[in-house]
Amino acid sequence: MKLTLEFGGGLELLFGSVKIHEVAVPPPEGETKVTVKHLLLWIRDNLLKERPEMFLKDKSVRPGVLVLINDCDWELCGTTEAVLEEKDTVVFISTLHGG
């Protein structure tokens, strides 16, 4: 599944200082859907360059990291259970850096 991922608010530093990543995420074996939960694991294993604890905590993002799916707060789409679709854009923004 083709997705656009964007990291901001300092999170890009964990991804080689690259903000926008065009990626292809395969669904988990034996399934057709890609959930955000699956995407987070895929990011951890395939994209994240350093300090995973700055991005993930207990199978979700670290509290203080905002997630938007197609510019909509993920809290309105079911957070980690949200099902992604082809060409969706997922944005991750840290609120934890500086003021």
């Binding site: 203080g64 309105l76 609120t95 500086g98 003021g99």
Partner: protein
């Protein structure tokens, strides 16, 4: 999803507001966000018509949104304020020089003048110099103490009547907790005040006192505001980091927790028997201080005399102590005292 905005009942919702739990669309969010800050400013009488107001600007998310909102509300509601941006150049290569570029762009974007005050000019030392001298252990103490004073001095030089800072609800909740954890009763009593130093030359206020960090970042994202978000290259304050994480964990379970902690802070009644430091004036520089010499002067003296631990260890250093006493103390476990508010 599939529901519509709980305010206009029309558009697709864009976020859930942490304060109210409401699902709102982008436009209704902008309105609510701006109106609430306007109400905070009016109800607490943060400014008077004609005030010259320094906006403490670091180039980060909070101060960038603050600069945007202050210029917007000043025009929309005819506050009659004379606004300018005030930035501190701590002299941190690869960090502050980059974020100052953001502030310089803000100067153009918001059409208000910018004044930059540097540690080098005020103190004769940049943070890079200080870290070379003292290492990376207590540098945040120097930076915090120097910044607070530098902002005040910059504001006074620029003839400001007030200073507005970007401290948000999450920051204040965090500070309430930290002051409890440190047993710092004097700061606990004043850290929730929306305006501080009312009888000083330059009172400070916090228009974002009730504004959630999540909403500030969402607002900046949706409005595509230009802000800087790299972490300081000199390690962050670890103790504060734990408190921050704790607040964020609480928020993810129950978002109102942040406002409730602020309320708890506001409603604390400090026992009349509690010993409070008396505010006086630094005999060297004239800055407000509860000691004979203010913290900045003590730290600066330490740097200039080659005794950088002066003013950092818990036991108060007096002028009588020579290098010997200082080197003895250096062997003790360092306990830094941070001064953020």
């Amino acid at each position: 999803m599939g529901r519509s905005c709980e305010v206009c009942q029309k558009n697709r919702p864009a976020l859930r507001r942490p304060k109210t739990g409401q699902q709102v669309c982008r436009e209704c969010f902008f309105c609510a966000f701006e109106d609430e800050i306007h109400r905070t400013i009016v109800e607490n009488r943060l400014f008077k018509k004609g005030d010259r107001v320094a906006i403490a600007a670091s180039g980060g998310k909070d101060s960038t949104v603050l600069a945007h909102i202050m210029t917007l509300l000043n025009k929309r509601h005819d506050y009659g304020l004379d606004l300018f941006l005030l930035s501190i150049d701590e002299g941190i290569t690869g960090y502050r020089d980059d974020s100052l570029e953001t502030v310089k762009r803000n100067e153009v974007q918001y059409g208000i003048p910018l004044k930059v005050v540097s540690y080098k000019t005020l103190y004769g030392w940049t943070m890079d110099d200080i870290v070379r001298e003292i290492g990376r252990k207590n540098n945040c103490t120097f930076c915090g103490v120097f910044r607070r004073q530098a902002l005040d001095r910059g504001g006074v030089v620029m003839k400001a009547d007030k200073m507005a800072t970007g401290h948000n609800a999450d920051d204040i909740a965090e500070t309430v907790l930290l002051n409890i954890l440190r047993g710092d009763i004097a700061r606990l009593a004043r850290c929730t005040a929306i305006t501080t130093g009312e009888d000083s030359v330059l009172p400070r206020c916090k228009p974002f006192k009730y504004t959630y960090e999540k909403e500030i970042v969402m607002y900046a994202y949706f409005k595509k505001l230009d802000y800087f978000s790299t972490e300081c290259i000199y390690s962050p304050n670890a103790y504060r980091g734990f408190a921050r994480e704790f607040i964020k964990d609480l928020e993810s379970i129950r978002p109102r927790a942040i406002l409730d902690i602020i309320k708890s802070g506001e409603d604390f009644r400090i026992a009349s028997t509690a010993k409070m430091p008396e505010q006086g004036i630094c005999k060297r520089c004239g800055y407000i201080s509860s000691q004979e010499c203010c913290k900045a002067c003590v730290l600066l003296e330490g740097l200039n005399r080659g005794l950088p631990r002066l003013g950092i260890s818990r036991t108060r250093a007096s002028n009588k102590e020579g290098p010997k006493a200082e080197s003895n103390r250096a062997k003790e476990r360092p306990r830094s005292i941070s001064l953020d508010f």
